[in-house]
Symmetry: C2
């Protein structure tokens, strides 16, 4: 497929663009996008997040910036900057009220995502992370065809139902000729806060079969942690789990 | 908004159509659709499921019919029927291989969902449940505008991030003039299999605030259960949790 990559504006200099995808909703894409961004910041990189989940944007809340608003400067959108200096662009930072739905069909959604790429004053960034919406439809097609992505990290949960849907999205990336960096298995187990026993919620642990079939590396496993499910209310996060993955 | 409801074909007689929606992915829409269908069947109703999540269809696996295929009879699609006589129509029952992605943009997806309504031999049904995809885009707009739905049950998880995204979808249904039956809070807590203590993964439990703001009734709370996360591999399911909701 001949890609028609959309040029970025001359004010931006983005070294690496990484998509965080899954195909399936609720596996932890947004939470892990924020954890990866925080970890990259700690290592001294400049980082931005483009929230491409237009109808379910959750990045602002995870970074505690949901009350901020994106401003404009000579026709370009100026990203909101979080406490730890992560630049963020998300539809929820442009609308009046986050409970209001955006009832848009495909073409408008895709245009919005393209605007988030070219009409934003990102400036100089080492990494731009794109938090993808669930599905293999309009936004996923536009991002994979029109934005020069260096690679995609997939997030899955160790359950065959989830792996089946995630494998559709991985096959899509391969068809579109995009480098698949690997997969992170999230919420693989939970440690009981009382008796400290490991609880595995999902029977099927044929992660190996799934990885072999997809021919992609496992980047790491992350347990279910209340410090992640309450990411927006605390500042400590489990870097011991995410740092090795970076 | 003037609705242009699509007529069903004269061979079908569907008494009640209920949407199962959320706006957010991974909250348990598909799993609860199957549990609700099983509970209705036990009470003697005839039930069908229309899997409107075209790019992430998970109903066939949850009903253990993923290897079956939909056939056609005089130009109409004949649903697959599960062991407990639930009729199912889903894109994964039409494609060769469930790992293959459907890389379609909005208009084709919407047409597919309309086909699942009019070009299927549903026959006589007491209830048709429509398992909605995440988001407030093409498919959600088509289903709410063109299919005569009697009401929608929303699925949420007791976390303010999830409630925020679900409230967008609820506001969309209200805008489209569709009756909101209520909300089921899923995965509210987990009971440790070893020490039997209750583990609440999500800090914020302002379910009451969310329900008051949305002005909708709470239909029930469902814990995290391994009998639900392994729905496709066992036949016992927690009807003590789902039956009171029905
Ligand atoms: N490792 C984890 N431990 C505990 N909760 C998690 C973890 N990862 C994600 N979650 C929770 O799971 C839900 C889905 O995560 P989210 O990041 O919104 O996923 P997605 O972006 O894939 O929809 C959220 O409620 C989030 O708090
Ligand atoms: N009450 C529950 N207890 C345990 N696991 C659950 C429960 N509800 C859903 N799940 C699991 O959560 C994941 C998401 O459920 P799914 O039905 O696919 O949600 P959705 O249709 O909203 O994406 C699946 O892995 C499923 O097995
Ligand atoms: Zn315990």
């Amino acid at each position: 497929k001949e890609k028609c990559l959309v040029e970025n504006n001359y004010l931006n200099e983005i070294k690496t663009v990484i998509g965080i995808a899954s195909g399936k909703g609720g596996v932890g894409k947004s939470s892990l996008t924020v954890l990866i961004a925080k970890s990259l910041r700690k290592k001294g990189y400049s980082v931005g997040i483009l929230d491409a989940d237009i109808s379910g944007p959750s990045i602002p809340r995870l970074l505690n910036v949901e009350k901020e608003r994106i401003s404009t400067e000579s026709d370009l959108l100026v990203p909101v900057v979080s406490k730890d200096k992560i630049k963020v662009v998300s539809l929820n930072l442009l609308t009046e009220n986050e409970a209001q739905p955006v009832i848009w069909r495909g073409p408008i959604l895709s245009n919005m995502v393209k605007q988030f790429w070219t009409n934003v004053l990102w400036g100089e960034l080492d990494y731009l992370l794109i938090d993808m919406p669930p599905g293999t439809t309009d936004i996923a097609i536009t991002v994979m065809q029109e934005i020069p992505i260096n690679g995609i990290v997939f997030i899955s949960v160790p359950q065959d139902l989830v792996s089946m849907v995630v494998s559709k999205s991985i096959n899509m990336a391969k068809k579109m000729g995009i480098d698949v960096i690997g997969v992170i298995e999230n919420m693989s187990y939970l440690v009981c806060p009382d008796c400290h026993k490991q609880i595995r919620l999902f029977n099927s642990n044929n992660i190996d079969e799934f990885l072999k079939a997809m021919e992609i590396p496992l980047l790491g496993e992350i347990p279910m942690l209340s410090s992640i499910s309450n990411l927006n209310s605390n500042n400590t996060y489990p870097d011991k789990d995410i740092d090795p993955i970076i």
